[in-house]
């Protein structure tokens, strides 16, 4: 079990409105270094919106997103990534016509200094960085356990490998915080067990994980803490066993029993 440290990401009273629709309503959320935090909630609860606000896809209507002492409000999306937040996508968004390895190398480029001119004239730094990136990307593929697919085009990979490649690509940016958006979607039980092991391995390697997931057995098995959203509001925030029995959470998922009153 990794040691849980200081607060890495803090959402303070974040509200996100789209016209008249309030997707997030005063959400407070803290992610601590070294933990696996699960974010759950019924469909449309605002889970992915939280990710989109953190990564700069949307700018929050009000509230503060603080990452490691830096406000993410005014950062461009690629700058957020450079600061150390990486994500995967609910619907796989790999670059299909690139090989698995190239997908990860492209992500590793974010922390490199050399640009177009260096690449064109083959400056030593550009050459060195190319080699470093290639080695690191290969290492990550090995770490995630999909290195045998390195030369295959992403679009031709089996579904499960694509999901894993998304995680590998996100790790390529050397994030402090890894956001996983339903990584187990479409997995069979055996694959889910494997994925849970992978996520634990990622955390044990020093990454902090914020995870959106629907599969309760997966969440209860690996997360240190669970945050529940319902209609854009946080309704629970505790260790899995407590959240599991919280009447408000059960109500949000199953509705109020007909004979309640």
């Amino acid at each position: 079990m990794a040691k849980i440290g200081k607060t890495l990401l803090k959402l303070d009273n974040v509200t996100m409105k789209f016209g008249g629709v309030t997707a997030l309503n005063g959400v407070n959320l803290e992610v601590k270094e070294g933990e696996i935090l699960a974010l759950i909630g019924p469909n449309g609860a605002g889970k992915t919106t939280v990710f989109n606000v953190i990564t700069g896809v949307y700018k929050q209507t009000s509230g503060i997103v603080d990452f490691d002492g830096i406000s993410l409000g005014n950062q461009k999306r690629y700058q957020v990534t450079a600061l150390g937040v990486a994500r995967t996508f609910q619907n796989i968004r790999l670059w299909g016509d690139m090989t698995a390895l190239e997908n990860v190398i492209t992500a590793t480029d974010v922390h490199k200094k050399s640009g177009l001119v260096g690449a064109l004239f083959g400056f030593p730094r550009a050459r060195r960085e190319e080699t470093e990136n290639r080695e690191r990307a290969m290492e990550i593929l090995r770490f995630i356990g999909i290195d045998e697919y390195s030369d295959r085009l992403a679009k031709n990979l089996p579904y499960g490998v694509q999901r894993r490649l998304e995680i590998a690509r996100a790790l390529g940016t050397a994030p402090k915080l890894l956001l996983l958006d339903e990584p187990a979607a479409g997995f069979n039980p055996a694959e889910k067990v494997e994925l849970a092991a992978t996520i634990k391995k990622v955390r044990d390697a020093g990454y902090t994980v914020l995870l959106i997931e629907h599969d309760m057995s997966l969440i209860m098995g690996i997360s240190d803490r669970v945050v529940v959203l319902d209609f854009g509001t946080k309704i629970a925030d505790d260790i899995p066993s407590v959240v599991q029995n919280d009447p408000r959470v059960i109500e949000a998922y199953l509705g109020v029993p007909a004979d309640a009153s």
Binding site: V57, T81, W95, M98, A107, V110, L120, A126, L153
Partner: protein, 345 residues
């Protein structure tokens, strides 16, 4: 399976290249360069164009089309931005040469960097506000830019309006190589050198960071940005490099044609260059080279059927695009591991 491989020219060529050692590769490159360089001497053969001189056709349209298509391919093929105003950069290069060539003592080679720089500046100025747009919207804005440049040239006194600029000087001789109107071999070799330089540049960039960034932007721009690719920066670079190639082609064109006028830089040219790229195979350098060569050469080769040639030209386009919708030599990345496995089996 094996027989199919030979019909697949792209894979056949790539296999040949990959299995060759360094000396063989150098030999292939040198021999190809010499063979292409000797093309102007084949004017007596079946290749000859009936009305225009064969040398001249090889320079314009063929060579120029290849050069411009390669430039446009950086924008359209590599980074997936539809640019319908590419002729603007060609025009900027050409007018830089025409104006500086007639009013100052600068020769073609001295104007070349200035023309390229001005095209690139125009590329950046156009790129910064417009490259936030995507797809159709970008296409419309670039189309507008192309027309604006032409209309400015048509209506300004410094560009001599619709009269155009005559007496543009020819390039000075390079040692024993003389630039002549009747014998355009030297022009052809210069265009060839520029094409080789462009190919070198594209190949270099493609396998490194900028190429990956463009590829990522082309396939999924949002994902690219969220994975830390500074998309706007690389899109502007792509646009600017495309502009530079177009500008270089323009400088040489003015110096070869000796006379330029706004009517040479219409939307048609942009569309035709785009057609070359699509016809040959978007994103594939060799496809684009072949496509531009055919589309540049064909209308002049069949000039003997006079007016019907455009009909034939259109027919060829339709037929080829019907049978090869991705172009003559489409971009398709091969999966090395699999190809090797099949070869062993």
């Amino acid at each position: 399976m094996k027989i199919r491989n030979y019909w697949n020219l792209r894979d056949f060529g790539a296999n040949l290249w990959e299995n060759a050692g360094r000396p063989v590769r150098v030999a292939i490159v040198l021999i190809s360069i010499v063979l292409v360089g000797l093309l102007p001497f084949t004017g007596g053969s079946f290749l000859a164009t009936p009305i225009a001189s064969f040398d001249a056709v090889l320079v314009y349209p063929v060579g120029m089309f290849v050069l411009m298509s390669l430039g446009l391919n950086i924008v359209v093929g590599k980074s997936g931005m539809l640019d319908l105003g590419y002729v603007a950069f060609f025009a900027i290069g050409a007018y830089t040469m025409a104006i500086l060539g007639t009013t100052t003592k600068l020769n073609t080679w001295e104007v070349m960097p200035i023309g390229i720089a001005l095209s690139m500046i125009a590329g950046v100025l156009l790129g910064i506000p417009t490259l936030r747009l995507r797809g159709d919207y970008l296409a419309i804005v670039t189309l507008g830019f192309g027309e604006i440049v032409r209309l400015v040239l048509l209506n300004s006194s410094w560009s001599k309006g619709p009269n155009g600029i005559a007496n543009v000087p020819m390039p000075p001789n390079i040692g024993p190589l003389k630039f002549e109107l009747e014998n355009q071999k030297v022009f052809f070799w210069v265009v060839m050198a520029m094409i080789l330089l462009t190919i070198w540049m594209i190949r270099r960039l493609t396998v490194r960071r900028p190429g990956r960034a463009w590829e990522a932007i082309r396939q999924d721009e949002d994902a690219a940005e969220l994975m830390g690719v500074p998309t706007l920066k690389y899109k502007i670079w792509s646009f600017t490099l495309g502009a530079a190639v177009g500008g270089a082609a323009g400088v040489l064109y003015a110096s070869k044609n000796l006379y330029i006028a706004p009517e040479m830089f219409t939307l048609n040219v942009s569309i035709l260059i785009l057609a070359c790229v699509v016809f040959g195979g978007i994103g594939n350098i060799w496809g684009v080279v072949i496509g531009a060569t055919i589309l540049g050469y064909l209308p002049d080769r069949i000039r003997f059927i006079s007016d019907a040639r455009l009909l034939v030209f259109g027919l060829v386009l339709v037929i080829v695009m019907n049978f090869r919708p991705d172009g003559l030599l489409p971009r398709k990345k091969r999966e090395k591991a699999i190809v090797k496995k099949e070869a062993n089996a």
